[in-house]
């Protein structure tokens, strides 16, 4: 059987599995009123915070079928017991936990992690750059909304990563703004042990997921390519063609000096590879598989 056939069967089978999964029923009970010391119940909260309650009611957190707020103490699961807050006549931050901007980010995230620590991938939250730089869950996720609570990607990411927002709109860029690649296609925002929180052991293994033609191993390798794609490419966007860090031939000459053409300055009167681009004769720059010795110089 050809390898591809395995995939052809896997996809419809997974569709079947998905549908069967959804078709299965079962719910757990929820709570609308407080029955613990200091807890007042969601309907009491609603008396003053109707807009927040209504948005909460549309959210996934309101589902009784998950082990979430509604199946525990509703509003007070995240905001804490509300009796003292009510006794004091309410007020922002008065004996109640809020997710205000000035709140300690770790304290806010800790509330979410009470339930979400067991979510796949969240085990590395503490290790992640986001957590260590005071990004909390509510920095990216809107909690009082209906439907999906996934952040808008890349808009939310661009809110902090201004340089990436600019790079992603440069003349040469990955199709991030076009919606064909998301930040989360390559990065694990909830934490990772890898630099840049990339979703692979190292950058080049990540690139190979879409650019497997560069994976090789080639007979004639180009060592900087094998060590890090970013030696030559700026993955988010560049003013130079092909996401390159520098114009060709300058990029190539930063590593290659030799007799005759590699070491020649290509000014605006040049007639050789400055006009043609080094890749005109060295196209197999990511590695050549030729039995010819020309493979060493990536011309075959």
């Amino acid at each position: 059987m050809k390898r591809g056939n395995i995939f052809a069967h896997f996809v419809p089978l997974s569709l079947l599995l998905l549908c069967c999964t959804l078709a299965m029923g079962g719910t757990t009970g929820g709570k609308e009123s407080g029955d613990k010391m200091g807890f007042i119940g969601a309907l009491t909260c609603k008396d003053c915070h109707e807009a927040q309650y209504n948005s909460y009611a549309k959210s996934i957190h309101f589902k009784n079928s998950i082990k979430g707020p509604q199946s525990q103490d509703a509003c007070e699961t995240c905001h804490g017991a509300g009796a003292k807050h009510v006794e004091k006549g309410g007020g922002r931050d008065v004996d109640i936990f809020t997710f205000d901007k000035k709140k300690d980010p770790k304290e806010k995230s800790a509330r979410c992690l009470t339930c979400h620590q067991r979510t796949p991938g969240m085990d590395l939250w503490e290790m992640g750059v986001h957590n260590r730089n005071d990004v909390s869950c509510d920095s990216c996720h809107e909690l009082h909304v209906g439907g999906s609570q996934k952040p808008k990607d890349p808009e939310v990411c661009f809110g902090c990563h201004r340089n990436i927002k600019i790079e992603a709109n440069k003349r040469s860029h990955h199709p991030i703004l076009e919606g064909k690649i998301r930040c989360s296609s390559c990065h694990a925002p909830h934490g990772s042990l890898n630099k840049g929180m990339v979703k692979a052991d190292d950058p080049q293994q990540l690139c190979y997921k879409c650019h497997a033609d560069k994976r090789g191993p080639a007979a004639w390798e180009h060592p900087p390519v094998e060590e890090d794609c970013q030696n030559c490419h700026n993955v988010h966007g560049s003013n130079h063609a092909r996401l390159l860090n520098e114009r060709i031939p300058q990029l190539c000459q930063n590593c290659h000096d030799w007799s005759r053409h590699p070491g020649t300055p290509y000014d605006n009167k040049a007639t050789f590879s400055s006009r043609w681009d080094c890749l005109r004769c060295h196209p197999s720059i990511h590695g050549s598989n030729s039995p010819s010795g020309g493979g060493m110089r990536h011309v075959r």
Binding site: G4, I6, F7, H9, V11, S14, L15, L16, L18, C19, T21, L22, G26, I66, K67, T119, P120, D123, M127, R132, G147, K165, R171, E178, K180, L193, D202, Q205, Y208, A212, D213, R215, G216, P217, A218, A219, E227, N239, A241, Q250, N254, D257, R260, G263, P265, D267, N268, K269, F272, W276, L279, R280, H282, S290, P291, S292, G293, G294, M296, R300
Partner: protein
């Protein structure tokens, strides 16, 4: 056809579940027309999206129930950038999605070639070495460089909320199909369309165990790449030239991690992984170059072994630390070959890298935080020009939020990189003497200084201003010939305001300046020594490269009437690149600068009116203007026939001015 049987079965199973569900979503149908001024059409205009005239639109449908939800979306059905996604989740048990995504990356339109066989891997060309045999350009065949990508995949996660185990799996097939520019040499001195016909299948599975204190995860992946055209043959009717293209390959990996929660809110993570990449280049198809391999193919075989550990500790409410160590070892067990045509021997590149670091966050008080850290990495390669590299990196970061409406951060970073070479005496013989003086930049010894300051103002609800400045300065003091220094300044600003009358303003601006200096030696065989004679063929020279990049943009939303919003948008960016050269007068006339090095500008203007006819129906009428111009020296006085080489016009369709009008009807249900 067998697999189609699953579909009706799935629908049958699902129908009862949807019978009484709330359904909501939206449907958009649009119509657009684009006019290109002066007939200038460019691949850049629709590089990733299908912007063709006619209908477009999308539909999003959601089924939302107490214990599950399901969604379906379709974007631009029938167009070259169409995508479809079906997803669902049974709360507290499982979720999954199925998707298809297509894009056609337009590389260059209206290219020309005298070759026949475009799209295949056997091209017939005239003899570039005999100009009389090359027909006039007017008779060359026009074609477009583009690569169509189709991705079809699925992923699902089974994560029962009452169970400690979860399981994830994903599978994806990517198809790439098209032609891209490819340079060839010798008699076939043509820029030609190389066929792209790739299939990549990726499979990933992950299984995990969670308890309150421990998480253990095992992962495995398999990826296979197949190229239907793994050889490019060029014929001039008499002779042939053969060029390798990406070879079939596959890769598999295993990994695992253990995350253990310890006292003091500490978390310890251990991870290990193994990846093996294997390629199979079929040399049986080659008629040129007698294969040095007995079994007539080339076997590439590289493995990566990885390990790591990280420990985060919260010593108090004020202090937390992170200690980490990573290790990667690339072993290359590929076939060693010596080419029979010129005796070149391939180099099996290997390296191993150790990286360790410690960083700490200390909170002076609620409003002030300082962070600092140190990282060390050591890389050992079997590269003569870069044998070992040691990086010492220190950083400090301050963050202040004392003022309720303002936060400030400052980060300083210093990297010291020292690299050793390991040239053999044989390497330094002859022209190889240049290695004694020239250092490749990628692992050269250097000092890097980085600074970044950011100030964010949250002036009031809906009024934000963000400013940031960053400096990166690399100094390659130990380099005699090669990159000498590299500087980069970045300034960015964002301003977002919700003004009276619900007017919304979002703006951004940026400026980047890069400057680098480079020294090299131009020499003929035997003249590698930079202290040697200076004449027309042997001389030292230098180059200074400077780029200025500006961008400004934003959008303004104005509610004109209760039912009508007007949205205006603008984005303008431009680059000014300059390359200056210098050499001794003894080498000849002064080198002339390149004043248009990747210079470009792009302007986008948009205006649209959104009329909300009813609560659920809106009509948008809009206009988009986009103009882009690339002034790159390579394209100045462009000729298809520079010297004895023949170009195809790849990238020549760089400029365009487009005017688009569109109307979109959107219905929410």
């Amino acid at each position: 056809m067998k697999r189609m049987m699953y579909l009706p079965l799935a629908v049958l199973m699902t129908t009862p579940a949807f019978a009484s569900d709330e359904v909501h979503g939206d449907l958009s149908i649009g119509l657009r027309a684009t006019h290109f001024a002066s007939g200038d059409e460019s691949a850049k205009y629709n590089e990733y999206l299908d912007m063709s005239d006619g209908l477009f639109g999308d539909v999003n449908v959601f089924f939302d129930k107490e214990n599950y939800y399901m969604g379906f979306s379709a974007k631009n059905p029938g167009l070259d950038d169409q995508s479809y996604e079906l997803w669902g989740q049974r709360f507290g048990f499982a979720k999954g999605r199925l998707y298809f995504d297509e894009l056609t990356q337009q590389l260059s339109l209206d290219a020309l070639t005298p070759a026949t066989g475009i799209g295949g891997n056997y091209l017939v060309t005239p003899d570039a070495g005999t100009p009389a045999s090359v027909p006039p350009i007017s008779s060359w065949t026009p074609f477009d460089y583009n690569v169509e990508r189709k991705v079809f995949g699925t992923e699902f996660t089974v994560d029962p909320q009452e169970k400690p185990f979860y399981f994830k799996a994903s599978m994806e097939q990517q198809r790439h199909d098209g032609v891209m520019p490819w340079g060839t040499t010798n008699f076939a001195g043509f820029e030609l369309p190389m066929p792209v016909d790739y299939t990549t299948n990726n499979l990933m599975v992950e299984s995990g165990y969670r308890s309150k204190e421990t998480t253990a995860v095992l992962t495995a992946g398999y990826s296979v790449f197949e190229n239907d055209y793994d050889l490019l043959t060029i014929s001039n009717g008499t002779d042939i030239e053969q060029y390798s293209t990406p070879a079939d390959n596959y890769s598999y990996n295993f990994g695992g991690r253990l995350v253990q929660r310890l006292p003091m809110k500490s978390v310890l993570a251990l991870n290990a992984g193994y990846t093996r990449n294997i390629s199979e280049a079929d040399w049986g198809q080659y008629t040129q170059f007698i294969s040095p391999s007995a079994d007539n193919d080339y076997d590439g075989d590289v493995e990566y072994i990885r390990g790591g550990a990280a420990l985060t500790s919260h010593w108090s409410a004020l202090l937390d630390t992170r200690l980490f160590y990573n290790y990667v070892d690339r072993n290359n067990a590929s076939e060693e070959i010596t080419a029979l045509d010129n005796g070149n021997t391939n180099h099996l590149f290997e390296y191993d890298r150790h990286k360790a670091g410690l960083d700490a966050n200390y909170r002076f008080n609620k409003a002030n935080k300082i962070a600092g850290g140190y990282e060390f990495s050591y890389t050992n390669r079997n590269r003569e020009d870069s044998d070992t590299t040691k990086d010492n990196l220190i950083f400090a970061q301050l963050k202040n939020t004392a003022i309720e409406w303002m936060s400030t951060s400052l980060r300083l970073e210093y990297l010291n990189r020292s690299s050793d070479t390991d040239y053999s005496a044989a390497t330094l013989e002859g022209d190889g003497l240049i290695h004694q003086y020239f250092t490749p930049f990628d692992n050269a010894s250097k000092d890097r200084y980085k600074a970044k300051v950011a100030v964010d103002f949250n002036l009031s609800q809906g009024l934000d201003l963000g400013l940031s400045y960053a400096l990166v300065n690399d100094q390659y003091d130990a380099t005699q010939l090669g990159l000498q220094d590299d500087q980069r300044h970045e300034i960015y600003a964002d301003f977002n305001a919700l003004l009276p009358a619900k007017i919304r303003l979002n703006t951004h601006a940026g400026y980047e300046y890069t400057n680098s200096n480079f020294d090299a030696r131009r020499f003929n065989p035997g003249g590698a020594n930079p202290a040697g004679a200076t004449n027309a063929n042997n001389y030292n020279w230098s180059e200074e490269t400077t780029y200025d990049f500006f961008v400004i943009g934003g959008s303004l939303t104005v509610p004109v009437r209760h039912q009508l919003d007007m949205v205006f948008s603008v984005d303008h960016q431009w680059v000014d690149g300059n390359i200056d050269f210098a050499r001794s007068a003894a080498a000849g006339a002064a080198l002339t600068p390149i004043a248009d090095a990747d210079d470009y500008y792009k302007t986008q203007l948009g205006a649209k009116g959104i009329f909300k006819a009813t609560e659920s129906l809106s009509i948008t009428l809009g206009y988009l203007f986009e103009r882009s111009n690339l002034d790159e020296w390579k394209y100045v006085n462009y000729t298809y026939t520079p010297g004895s080489y023949y170009l195809s016009g790849a990238g020549l369709d760089k400029d365009y001015e487009a005017h688009q009008v569109y109307v979109i009807t959107k219905y929410h249900f």
